[in-house]
Symmetry: C2
DNA sequence: TATTAGCACTCGCAATCTTAGAGTGCTAAA
DNA sequence: TTTAGCACTCTAAGATTGCGAGTGCTAATA
């Protein structure tokens, strides 16, 4: 196993990647020898390149072009070669002004996503998990609709509101519903959602027999409300902005590839699964090309980071762009953004 | 003004358009003479073509290619030449099954939009007007949040729910808010939204002085609620599906053009303005190319129709695709879809 | 032993040229 | 008014060429 790379080879690989990321052109031995700062000839570089190629770090598009990095090469680059210059104070200050704790999660996510897109000139994305596990039910309210339907309104935490329509067996008056809601509020308000769910489906149901009829009705309704994976919160938890930026990149000028990519964005599901995977990781994470297992992400990389409140990762944000992106700039941006969002959320709590 | 077109010239134009729409290739005089069904020679056709060109109905991409329709040519085609074969019973039946009155407007719009996209292999769109003018306020409810904020919940018609957060000068208890809500409900519930707005801003405000303090508070809150153009209903009223289908068309293979188009889709505002213009028109309306005034829509056409309930146009739906589309198929599809959606809405009322 | 210079060779790209085919416009005849 | 004939134009697709960049290999060098 010749996984060991000499110091010089590493340096050359690094310079090669930097050069390729800058210019987009395959890098030849002469240019590399010149740019490397090392006092070696092109021929020497060629030998090193042959080694790197054997290790799968670089490849040439054809016999007589220079070398370009492979995905494996990028991986090595971001993992151990890249030198990142942290953002300076001033830049951070400018960013800090962007995110306030105001508005709903939705609004925050949208603004963060489009900010990321704007500053990196790539596509930005922010994921909002269904409903944070630790959020608590504040209030529940019923309202009669026509046709034996009832509108249930849940207030969660301080600002989130979920509406669900449920069906019941007969018409209920507003007063009846008020009673049921009162009962449920007295039992459930202030508890965490997981707990609420649990209580309804287990404890209350079991003790249902023998209770007042009103309470029985209330519980039956609550079962419906908490059982269905409330549609609104389930689908709207992923925001993406600036996809069109990706149309500007050379490597995505193939329209078929672009189409696959955009279709994947529309699916949402796929991307969400992918993002879900980073939720455990710490700090900035990077997916390079099809490492993720999705062929459509072929020439793309994702740079992501989780944002958190009270140590719990609430969601993921990041950008997606061509594999050939300026990592040394993008990584700190995503990093700082995640921290600022965390801060904004903590403050608004 | 030589706006008059001989019968034969019209026929030739029609055949030319049909042929071009089918094949995408410029149509030459020989082929046209053959396909026209007329017993004339290519030379005769050439003369007619020269006339048509002078009228701006067709043009040739270069000296020795055939002719292709101009926007003006398409306009004439769809306005007076096109023969539309209505969908047969069976097709309509298949479609009828697609749309139910179930679910929220949002859900219906999404499903209709993606249905349109699927069946036409172009992009589908459905606009939902802010909130129908004639919809009425059913119920209003306040709930205290932290930091002197209050969550206002409006129930409109039977299913629509709007949430708004307002700020107030001090903390109010749930009981106080309940009182205020009761008062407002007694005054306003059941009225149409426009009326509600009017009442609050004019009548009640004027008589405010001298009322109980509780009522004054209630009115102040209501002012806030109905004054801001509630964000949720304002932005989410336009659904588009299958944009990626547009990537498959020859005439949109230019990536810059495509980008402009997709950016316009993201803006929403522009498209909405455009759609707003059709709201008065009757039946199916067609925009060809940049007739609309938006350069990005250069090689595209929109086929739209309003859907209505009780004679009032509630919204617009339609498709957007290349100018060179199969109008004779798309037009009846959009037409029938609009009628079916109207029916579904009427039924679910 | 590691590095270097030299050299033949490969390949892609762009420019140039060629050819075939399609279609036109014009003119003169029917 | 229509038609046939003909010269002309233009494009798209191949074929050919030269250039430049870059490689791999070998033999000489430190």
């Amino acid at each position: 196993m010749a996984e060991e790379l000499g110091e010089r080879a590493q340096h050359l690989l690094k310079v090669l990647e930097e050069s390729y990321i800058r210019s987009g052109q395959p890098v030849g031995s002469r240019a590399l020898a010149r740019d490397s700062g090392l006092d070696v000839s092109a021929a020497t570089v060629r030998n090193a390149m042959a080694d790197l190629e054997e290790l799968g770090m670089v490849k040439s598009p054809h016999t007589s072009a220079g070398r370009i990095p492979t995905n494996k090469g990028y991986r090595m680059f971001v993992d151990s070669l890249l030198t990142i210059t942290p953002l300076n104070e001033r830049e951070i200050m400018t960013m800090r002004g962007q995110f306030s704790g105001e508005g709903s999660k939705q609004e925050l996510a949208t603004s963060v996503s489009s900010y990321l897109s704007g500053i990196t000139a790539m596509a930005g994305m922010v994921m909002i998990p269904r409903t944070a596990k630790r959020s608590s039910l504040r209030h529940i309210e019923f309202m009669p609709l026509s046709d034996n339907r009832i509108l249930a309104i849940l207030v969660i935490n301080e600002k989130e509101v979920q509406n669900t329509v449920i069906r019941v067996d007969r018409h209920y008056t507003a007063a009846e519903l008020q009673q049921s809601a009162n009962y449920l509020n007295s039992e459930l308000a202030g508890r965490e959602l997981l707990d609420v769910r649990h209580r309804i489906l287990k404890e209350l149901r079991e003790t249902k027999v023998g209770m007042e009829q009103m309470m029985q009705q209330a519980i039956t309704m609550a079962e419906q409300v908490f059982d269905q994976p409330s549609s609104s919160s389930n689908s709207d938890d992923f925001v993406m902005s600036g996809q069109t930026c990706l149309m500007g990149f050379e490597e995505l000028s193939n329209i078929e590839k672009l189409r696959g990519l955009f279709e994947a964005f529309n699916e949402k599901q796929q991307i969400l699964q992918l993002l879900d995977r980073c939720i455990d990781g710490d700090g900035v994470q990077i997916f390079i090309g099809e490492e993720s297992g999705y062929g459509v992400l072929n020439e793309c990389s994702m740079v992501t980071s989780g944002y958190q409140v009270d140590g719990e990762v609430l969601g993921i944000l990041g950008v997606i762009g061509p594999t050939r992106m300026a990592y040394e700039r993008v990584i700190p941006i995503v990093d700082v953004t995640a921290k600022l969002v965390s801060a904004a959320l903590a403050q608004s709590k």
